[in-house]
C-alpha cells in the first residue's frame, strides 16, 4: 500500500440528519481506496445523533478495514455534543469509551 495522500473532508455545515446521508457517502467513499482520511470538524455548525452516528460509523469502518481516519479541529459544537454523550476524546483518539463487540 502506498502512502497516498490523505483524503480531507471538511464539514462546514451542520452535521445532522439533513446532511448525514451526504457525509456518510463521502466518508465511505474516502475510506474505500485505502488512503488515510482526515475529517476536519472546525466548521460544524450543528451535530445531532445522526451526525454523530456517521462519525462513529466511519471510525469503526476504518478500524474494521484497517484504514485510518482522523478527526481534527473539533470545535465547541462538536465537543459539547460529545460531552453530552460522554464521548469526549473518542473522536480525537484520546479516549475510547464506546462499547460494542467490534470495538475490542
Amino acid at each position: 500500500m502506498t502512502a497516498s495522500p490523505p483524503h480531507r473532508i471538511a464539514v462546514d455545515d451542520e452535521l445532522t440528519i439533513i446532511t448525514a446521508a451526504e457525509y456518510n457517502r463521502r466518508l465511505a467513499a474516502a475510506l474505500s481506496d485505502g488512503a488515510p482520511v482526515e475529517v476536519c470538524l472546525a466548521g460544524v455548525t450543528d451535530l445531532d445523533t445522526a451526525g454523530l452516528q456517521v462519525l462513529l460509523h466511519a471510525r469503526r469502518e476504518a478500524h474494521r478495514l484497517g484504514r485510518t481516519v482522523t478527526f481534527r479541529d473539533l470545535n465547541e459544537v462538536v465537543r459539547d455534543t460529545l460531552a453530552v454523550a460522554h464521548l469526549d476524546g473518542v473522536l480525537d483518539g484520546t479516549a475510547q469509551t464506546v462499547t460494542g463487540r467490534s470495538e475490542a
Binding site: 446521508a21 445531532d48 445523533t49 445522526a50 454523530l52 452516528q53 462513529l56 469503526r60 453530552v84 460494542g100
Partner: protein
Amino acid sequence: MMSLGEDLGQALGTFVIEARELLQDIEDGLIALEDDPAADETVNALFRAVHTLKGSAGLFGLDHLVEFTHVVETVLGLVREGALGVSPGLVSAVLPCADHIAAIVEGVAAGQTQASPSQVRAGEDLLAGLRPFLSADTAQTRPAGSVPGPPAETGPARPDVAWELSLRFGPDSLRNGMDPLAFLRYLGTMGSVTRVTTDVDALPEADGMDPETCYLGFEVHLVTDAPKAEIENVFEFVREDGDIRIVAADDQTDSYVQRIQSLPESERVGDILVRSGAVTEAEIARALRIQQERSAGYAEPPVRIGEVLVEENIVGQPIVEAALGKQRGTVEARFHDTQTIRIDASRLDKLIDLVGELVVAQASTGMRPAAAGQGGALQAESEVMRLVDEVRHSALALRMVPIGTTLRRFERVIRDVSMDLGKEVALVVTGGDAEMDKALVERIGDPLLHLVRNSLDHGIEPPEERVRRGKRARGTLRLNAFHDAGSVVIEVIDDGRGLDRERILAKAAERGLVAPGAVLSDQDVYGLIFEPGFSTAESVSSISGRGVGMDVVHRSVTELRGSIEIDSTPGVGTTMRIRLPLTLAIIDGFLVGVGESSFIIPLDRVTECVELPAGPADRDCMYLRGEVLPFIRLRSLFDIPGEPARRQSVVVIEQSGQRTGLVVDSLMGEVQTVIKPLGPLFSSLNCVSGSTILGNGEVALILDVGPLVAGHGERERLRVAG
C-alpha cells in the same frame, strides 16, 4: 331511654360483641404501652381500635358513645403523631375512659341508647382528666426526635436517587425529529448524568448503514431527586417505538427494599412497587400486558408479574422480592383475620347435636347382624363410620378457641389489684394458644380470676418482704396452659411465699375440718383451702380473704368435670393447677346395665371393677383389699324393677378422694358419648347430669358422680332414721 326494635337489636348485638373485643384490645394495648411506651405498633393498634369503635358507634347513632370516644381517639391520635409522649399518667387517665366506654357499651347492650345522667357526669369527669393531654398539642413542645418526618414520597426534599437508564430509541426516531442526544441533554437538567455509555453495536457494517436510522443506544447513570415517573415522562413520545428502561441503580436496591418494608401492606405487588417509586404505573401496565400476552392460549398458570418485571429489567430481583414479602405479609394477615369467625353458639350446638344423632343412627346399622359374606357392605359401613367420626371431630373443633384471650384479660386485674395492694407483679402468659371448648373458656374465667387474686393477695409478698428474702422486688405471676392427655391444664403459678402447711392445718383443726393431730399428706392439707368457709388470711382485704372464693373455685371446676391441685414450696411459690376436659359435649364413659336400664359413669371417675361378693341383699358395704367400701345399689336407688342378676358387679368410683362402689348387673365397657342435656323438666334431678342415646337406640342416663356419692350418706341417714 327507649328500647330497640328487634331487627336493630340483632345488628346491635353484633356491635356489642365487636365493641367488647375492641375494648379488650384497647385495654391490652394501654397496659402494653405502660410497659413499653415507645411501641409505635401498639399505639397504632390502639388508635385503630378506638377509631373503629367510634365508627361503629356512629353507624348506630350512639352519639353519646361517639362523643366520648372521639376525645379518647384525639388523645391517642396525638400520641400517634408523636405530639404527646406516653406516660404512666396518660395510661392511668385513659384506662378509666376505656372502662367508661365499656360501661356505655354494656348500657347499649341493655337497650340504653342514650347516656344516663350518671354516665354523663362520669364521662365529664373523665374527659376533664384528659384535658391536660389534649392541650399538649399546642402547649407542650414536641419531644426531640419523635417527630416523624414527612413520608418520602410526598415531601419536597426528596433524596437523590441513582437510576440506570437504558435507552434504545426506535429506528425512525431521527426521521421523526427525536434526537437522542437532545434527551441526554435534557436529562442533564434533571439531575446529574454521571455516566453515559454509547452502544454502537447496532451500527451495521459498511454500506448497510442508513444514516437516517437511529442505531445508537445509551446507558445512562442519572442521579436525580425527580421521581421515576418524571424521568419516564421525558421519554413519553419515544417509548412506544423504542425500548426505554429505567431501573434503580444497584446500589439503591437497599434503600428501595427498606422503603418497601416501611410501606403499608397491600394486596398487589404492583401497588407496592409503584408506591415505593421503584416502578411506575406505566411500567406495571406494560408488564401486565406482557403477562397477558404470555399466558394467552396457555393452560398453565400465568407468569407472575414480579417475574415479568425482573425479566424485562424494569426492576431488580431484590426489590421484587421485598414487595412480594410485603404482599405475602398481607396475605398472611388476611388469612389470620379469617381464622376466627363468629358463630352463633346455638347453631353450633345444633350441629353437634345432629352429628351426635348421626353417630347413633350409624351405630344402629352397625348393630344389625350384617348379612354373611357381604364384605363390601361392611367395608362401606366402616368407611361411613370413619367419616362420621371425622365430621364429629371437626364439628367439635368449631367450638375450640384459644385460651390466650381469657388469660391475657388478667393483665388488667393484675395491674389494678397489685396497685391496690402495693405490690409489683408481672404477668407472664404462656401456652395461650392451647385450645379448649368455648363454653369452658367462658366458665373458667371466674374461677381463674379467684385463683389469680388469691395468688396476688396471699401468694406474692410485698416488695420489702421479697427483697428481705432475697427475691426480686417485682413478683411474677405466670399463667400457663397446655394440653395433656385429652384434657387441658391451666396453671396459675406465683413466685410468692408458698402455702403455710402448719397454719392451714391449725385453721382447719380450729374450724373442725380435720381431727387435731390427724396425719395428712401435703396434697390433702393444701386441698383444705378449698373447703367452704376456710380462710387463713389474717387481714381481710377487699381482694380476698373473706373465705369465699376458693371453695367456689373448687365447686366451679368440679362442675366442669375438672379437678384442681396445688403444688407449693414454702418461700418459693405456689402452683395451682386446674385440669379440665377439652370439651363439655363429649365424655369418655363406662357403660353399665341394671335390669333393662343402662347408665354411663364418667370414665375418669372409675378406678376399678370387682365382683360383688355373695351376701345379704340389704347390706351396703363390702371389704375391698382389707378396707371397707361402701356401695350404692343402683337398682334400689333408681327403683328398677326385676330380679338382680345372679352375678352382680361393683364399679369402684372415686370422688374427692372418697371411694364408693356402684352395684350393677352388667358391665358393658367404655363408650365415648355425646352428652345431651336433660330438659328443664328434669332439672331438679341431682344424680344425673345428662343423657345419651346408645347404638341400639336406647337412652342411657349419665350419672353425676359427685352428688350421687355425697347424697348417699344423706339418704342412708334418712333411711335408717325412717
